[in-house]
Symmetry: C2
């Protein structure tokens, strides 16, 4: 699967989150063979769970695993420090990022620490997130602790 095809799965998750009244960030964790291990979207609003960032939700959805070698975390938005720390701690080898214009998390720190980071600068992701931030600024700032 190429990065754009991976991102499309994460975008589907983000749109599902938005349709459910939530924050439109989606993520998919893909195994070394290209199989989807887990998927999820931000569920702060839906579950009242501040730890349910998209990447963490996808990681949780993948269940217990002995190794994350060769796996790829795909996310519509630059991963925050929490979700970047997740990638680093569990040795997830690659990250595909939809965009880092509306928010910059730790993707550069991950690259400095040996993670293969692909930043797609996808304009649909930018537009989706920019519209959400303009519409619900307080909710967005709550989600990133600012």
């Amino acid at each position: 699967m190429d990065p754009e095809a991976m991102l499309a799965l994460a975008v589907d998750e983000a749109r599902a989150g938005l349709a459910g009244g939530g924050i439109p960030i989606g993520a998919v964790l893909i195994g070394p063979e290209g199989d989807v291990w887990g998927r999820g979207h931000n569920r702060r609003v839906q579950d009242g769970d501040p730890s349910a960032h998209a990447e963490t939700a996808a990681f949780r959805d993948a269940g217990r695993r002995r190794s994350y070698a060769g796996s790829t975390m795909v996310t519509t938005l630059s991963p925050c420090w929490f979700c970047s720390g997740l990638v680093r701690q569990f040795g997830i080898g690659s990250v595909v990022v939809g965009e880092a214009r509306t928010f910059v998390g730790g993707h550069e720190w991950l690259a400095e620490n040996g993670v293969a980071v692909t930043l797609l600068d996808d304009q649909a992701c930018v537009a989706m997130m920019a519209a959400f931030i303009a519409d619900r600024p307080e909710l967005w700032l709550e989600d990133i602790g600012e």
Copy 2:
């Protein structure tokens, strides 16, 4: 509440986790007024949830909050990169760490980034974790992605 009293609450959580068949790491998130916002322990085994590290469980238990200014994350063990990222992202001002002998996560990185870190080097915490690692090394390595 002094750091030792805070740590005692986290140790209670760790022991509850161990008694439930889990990994003995506990955490408590304490608000600026000294009130306990949330508490939890590692629930990888109990819930089959690899994201349920103690600090993340305590953060989740505290529910949605607009600000974490002045709050303290208390944990029996040096927080891993995932949970250290949580502290940094949400602006949790202080961290109290029971011990960092059996595992070193990101507590020094947090200190470099403005978090007030208190490392207690508590021997009961060291003994509890050392015994667990000796007893269940594979489970422990799974929990930290190694």
